[in-house]
Structures are given as structure tokens and as C-alpha cells.
Subunit: 288 residues, 2 copies
Amino acid sequence: MGANMARCLRERGYTVAAVYDRDAKVAQALADELSAKACETLAPVTASADIIFTVVTDDNAQRAVFATTGDSLLVGASGKTFVNCATITPSVHVEIEALAERAGASALEACMASSIPQARNGTLYLMCGGKKPVFDRLRPVLTELSDQGKLLRYIGPAGTAAQVKALVNMVMNINTAGLSEGLGLGAALGLDLKMLIEVFSQTGAASRIVATDGEDMVNRDHTCFFSAAHAAKDSGIALALGSECGLSLPLAAATKAQYDRLVSLGLGGLDKSGIAELTFPGRGTPQA
Amino acid sequence: MGANMARCLRERGYTVAAVYDRDAKVAQALADELSAKACETLAPVTASADIIFTVVTDDNAQRAVFATTGDSLLVGASGKTFVNCATITPSVHVEIEALAERAGASALEACMASSIPQARNGTLYLMCGGKKPVFDRLRPVLTELSDQGKLLRYIGPAGTAAQVKALVNMVMNINTAGLSEGLGLGAALGLDLKMLIEVFSQTGAASRIVATDGEDMVNRDHTCFFSAAHAAKDSGIALALGSECGLSLPLAAATKAQYDRLVSLGLGGLDKSGIAELTFPGRGTPQA
């Protein structure tokens, strides 16, 4: 995601000064492509730019790049602005905002409810949380990433965008798991699955997931846009929020259990559509 | 549903000769409205018409109107055609087709993946199962009910349309239960639910259910279009099919458990959106 956002911004005339990846070779290749500097540590990234985007995997990775000791994006961060795009636990965004402010910097969460092609094309659905003046200052660059701002939303204080994002992914994952059961049962009954997808798409079963994942489930094309492991993580974030609120969320729990099972089978790298490997008859040895 | 289909057909120039309802008063009121005959038993319905539509509640009700002894639609049925619209166990449609043929009649299943307003307006999504020549013969009248045939589908032999319908409702119910969890958790987090519905509708969480049931869940408007009790029944039909096929369907099972819980709380008469009464914080004493 981060690489494609960088490609998009460079195309729109922004200077991408520096890039960092845990894998130095990945960083170097992207840096060569974008005429940027490849950084092997974090502090030089902050030194190179006014606005620093982070796209990490999880809470721990987000905290690690904003470490309070040693190499960190917070080194020399005074006056800089961080835009944190990962789907992580909402309270971590609150922590990071406080750390950034203590370093004289600003932070905004910009949760992306879209996938790789949208990052590349600048048509991300971006939900932002943080201080409103920080959001307003970043509006020009965020506008380039969000279909000229048509898909840009200010949600509220730090953490609220991550809450909404966790809810979006929780519901999306439920719809995905549900569709995989519908198509799996259709396959078991010997129904024409092309017809079944068409009927789903035209009735109360219709969802964006039918359009994006239906055929992939049938064809076992689980090329990864959004991994099963990420689906498990995001449903877990939502379940943790539910648990804090004392809510029972049985569908979200059943969905997380399915994605956890996929991960435990070593299939966490499949796209979220890979959940169909658990529900179609005779599967279990995925081809993708 | 049946009354509204009758209203629609009469409006389109068909003669509605006779109507029957277990509640004689309901039948009489509809008969008066449509200048039809109200029948207090089943045999006269068959005697009055060439094509007889049935819209019943469940398997037992479907079998009861086609009883092989006593009062029954099968009495004097030779040459008549039955169109059976209920969402029931697929194998029951196979039984009924055989019984009808033994009586010299024909039967077609016409499963409706739509609700009351669509019945009234002749825009039902109609999925048909049975012998193709029977379907072809009924095409003119079915066309009037299905947006001039745009929403009319021939699925295959008797029972297959009910299979597809069970799958549609299974997936729809999962999406409904999932949305109720997303909005319930959003409410618990104090998020703006109008904003949340908008975000859901524009992201991977989008589904037809977001559009049809989202606001109703928030506003506790559970005026019944498709009851929670029916949702429990239809998910049960799909689960039984899955069980026959040896498939594990945890999302469908969790959804059925929620609707069963709603029914056991005496709330089975609420619309399917009533499942939100189980997931929003502080609810449990529904207002509708």
C-alpha cells in the first residue's frame, strides 16, 4: 500500500524524498523507481521530509517506528507531520498522537478502506482521525489520494477513524465469510455458481463482496489484495472493542475463528477470499 | 405476499376468481376488494381457477394444502396448474410436484426473493423450479409479477429454486446479523451512526442490507416486511441442506442462533432488522 501511495503522489507532482522498509532491498528498489533516498534507519526519513506517511502491519509495528528510545521517526521530529495509515487498535493512534505532540510534531490517522489498486490510482477511501487543524493542513495531499477528495472523510478525534475502520472490516469480513458459506453450499448442491452469484448480486444477499470476491471464491483465485491474516487481525480489533463495551458479537467471533483457522493452516497469506477453502466441499488443499 | 400478488394481477387485467386464507375474515375482506369469491375450504379454490397460487408459511402448511385425503387443493385438480411461492424445504417442492402430477395437474415452484412492496408493484424477483414446459406455459402471468420478466429466472428442476432461495436468505440473514453487530458496536463506541451507515455503504462493508435495514436498526423501526421468525426458518433450511452435504457453516449457524434467540424472546414477529435489539447496548426491551 505504502509504495503505491508513494507512486501515486509522485505522479501527482509531489516529491517523495525518502522511503524506508524493513526489507532494505524493497526500499532500495522503490527509491530507485521514485528517485528517492532509501533509508536504512528511521530517523533519516523524518529528517528528509515535512510529511511522513507510515503504513505498518500492526500495533507493535506502529509503536516500533515511534519508539521513544533509539532509532525512531520521532528523532528530530519537531515541526513534522505524521500520517499513519495502518489499521490498528484505535487507542494506539491516541498514544502516537501524544508521542508526536511531545516531540513537537503532529499526527493524523488516515485509515484506508480500500485496497492496492485504489492506492495506486489515488482513489482511496480515507477516514481521518485527529486534530481538525492537522487534518485541514494535510487536506491538499490527502485530496490527491482520495479521488480529488470525494472519498476523504474527517471522522473525529484520534482513534475514531480506526474505530470506524475496524467496524468496516469487521462487517466486510462477516459478509465475506457468509458469502463463502453460500457459494460453498451452492457448490455442494451442484448448483450453477455463475447463476448463483448473479442471483446473490440482484437480491437481498447482494453486497460489494459478492462483486469483488464471488468469482475468486469459485475459481480459487486468492491472489492477495487483503490477506486472511489481516482479516483475522481486524476482526480481532473489533471484537476487543466489543468486549470492552460488554457487547456480544457472535457473527464477528465466528468470522474471526474462521480466519484464525485459515491462518493456523498456514493460509494466512491468501486473500480474504481464501476463506472459501474452508467452506467448499472437497477443498482443503488450496491451489493459490 | 399472496394478497399483494393478487392485487397486482387484478390490476394487470387478470381475473382473481377465488381467494382462501386460514383466517376467513382476511379472505372475505380481500375477496370483497378484488371482486373475488372467498372460499372457506380449499377444493373450491381449485374448482374456480386454472392457475392457483399458494403462499404459505412453512413445509407443514405447504403439505397441508396439498393433502392427499380430505379437503385439499388436489381435489378435482386435473388440468390445473399450481404455482407455489413459499420458501420451504427444497425436497417438499419435489413431493408436491409428484402429488400434483398424480392428480393430473402441474406444479411450479416460484420462489420470491423480494418483499411486500415488490409483490404489490409486480417487481418480484422470481426464481422458478419445475418442468420447463410448465414454466413456459406460465410465463405470461409470471412476467406480470416480475417487472415485465426482467426479474424472472428459470433455475432448474423442482426444488432447485428453493435451494437458491434458501441460499439467498441464508446469506442475507448473515449480512443482516453482521450489520447489526457493526452498528451496535458503533453505538456502544458513541460514533455518529448516520456517518457510519454512509461509510459502510461506500466501502467493503456495503450490502443491500445496509441500504434496506441500516436506518431501521438505528431507529428501532422493526415494522415487519420479512419476519425474524422467517429468517430463523430459512437459515434453518439452509443449515439442514449443509448438514446433508456434510458442510460446516459456522456463520449461518451463529445467525440462526441469534434469530432463534429473538424468537424465544417473543420477538419473532419483528422484521429481520429486529436482530439489532440483541446487539445494541442498552436494548432488550424493543419498542416495536
